[in-house]
Symmetry: C2
Subunit: 236 residues, 2 copies
């Protein structure tokens, strides 16, 4: 099989630094983890928070700590550092080649979509951001790595896209529409969702927005592992 991971990310309009941080790291026992955090508010302060959270999580995952424990530790660390006054959302998606499963760990009220066979369901349960209480725990879902599976999660820039203009976005319907094309790539799904969010915000994103898509497909082609990053920069 082949795993595709795609990310599309844009900053809040006229803000040079995104408050979202995302890293993809190798797991010590095989596989990968994608870690996404969105620090409270936007700009530099939010970036420092989300970087701290992601660093904490990937440091622990590298030591072999389980995802749920890493999320709790990040919550406690943020609580301690900021006196419970600053929150951050956190999503971890791990491909565990040992257990042959995908583990989704979330402290984020935004939905996580799981699509298979043309159906799109949203993961159940009320999930709270980390950092504001000592009792915060993540919601964890685990599923076998199966060809045809598509997982999508995002920060709240996508959830609230268009809200201020009274044109809220319906990500669930868009997903259903996109998945009619069974060969659509993870990158096309991520790009389409983000493009729709920007459109609902009339070209001026109201918040930082990151979309992550994980897709499992039958292996076609070579056994080369690839990574590709595109980073638009403005050196002023």
């Amino acid at each position: 099989m082949e795993i595709q991971i795609a990310v599309a990310k844009i900053n809040k309009y006229a803000v040079s630094e995104s408050g979202d941080t995302l890293e993809v790291v190798e797991r010590p026992n095989g596989g990968l983890s994608v870690v996404l955090a969105d620090g409270q508010s936007s700009g530099r302060g939010a970036k420092a928070v989300s970087m701290m959270v992601v660093r904490k999580v990937i440091g622990l995952l590298a030591e072999g700590v389980r995802d749920g424990a890493a999320a709790r530790a990040a919550s406690d660390a943020l609580y301690t550092e900021k006196g419970g006054k600053v929150s951050s959302t956190l999503n971890i998606a791990s491909l565990d080649l040992h257990t042959k499963s995908i583990v989704l760990t979330r402290n984020n009220p935004a939905p996580v979509f799981i699509a298979h066979d043309g159906e799109v369901k949203s993961l159940e349960g009320d999930s709270k951001p980390i950092g504001t209480q000592r009792t915060i725990r993540p919601l964890i879902d685990e599923m076998p790595i199966t060809a045809g599976l598509t997982i999508v999660f995002f920060t709240d820039g996508l959830v609230y896209a268009g809200d201020r203009r009274g044109k809220p976005m319906d990500a669930h319907s868009l997903m259903l529409e996109l998945l009619k094309d069974k060969t659509i790539s993870a990158q096309s799904i991520a790009d389409s969702l983000l493009a729709k969010a920007i459109e609902h915000d009339e070209g001026r994103p109201g918040d930082d927005c990151s979309v992550v898509v994980v897709k499992v497909v039958p292996l076609v082609g070579d056994s080369v592992r690839r990574m590709n990053v595109r980073l638009p920069i403005n050196l002023g």
Copy 2:
């Protein structure tokens, strides 16, 4: 401008775990760092070494430590951990948006190619792997971020491709050939170099091989940041 980072990576033939580790991480003051290590020998032991080295480096970079100091620290940590008996190569390529420069830090005898205006030069100097002495220091080159710049580095799987079969590969000539197409993407360069190495090894890579390409191009298109990962897996 737009920065493209592309990676193509394959394991040694019939070995399930690569001894190479590569991570792309955000820098705390803006920009990205690509960190690549190749642990001595192959398989599980080499993987543990290269993961340890990369973890050490990205942990320090995240704290704002300069690349050269992070490389020295990784060397000393590996020396201490393994009593000087195990070496690892290390390459760090950092896009520092603060200084508007690319910093290349290397402890790797394999060449680093810098291409601009159709010319390809190899960075000078004798560079030693880390971990075997307490006096090891990296070679560091810094250059401004300029449209048209292409940087290529790799692990020794590419250097020795075809050697055992008496058909050594000429990566420099292939680079010159590829860069005749001025619009070639970073991914196409990485894929072509790796494909040629595999061809010289007659389809059975004699070692783990990772190729990293960083390309600076004028900005065309939107300001969306993208990342795409393709991971072929065999769940057995």
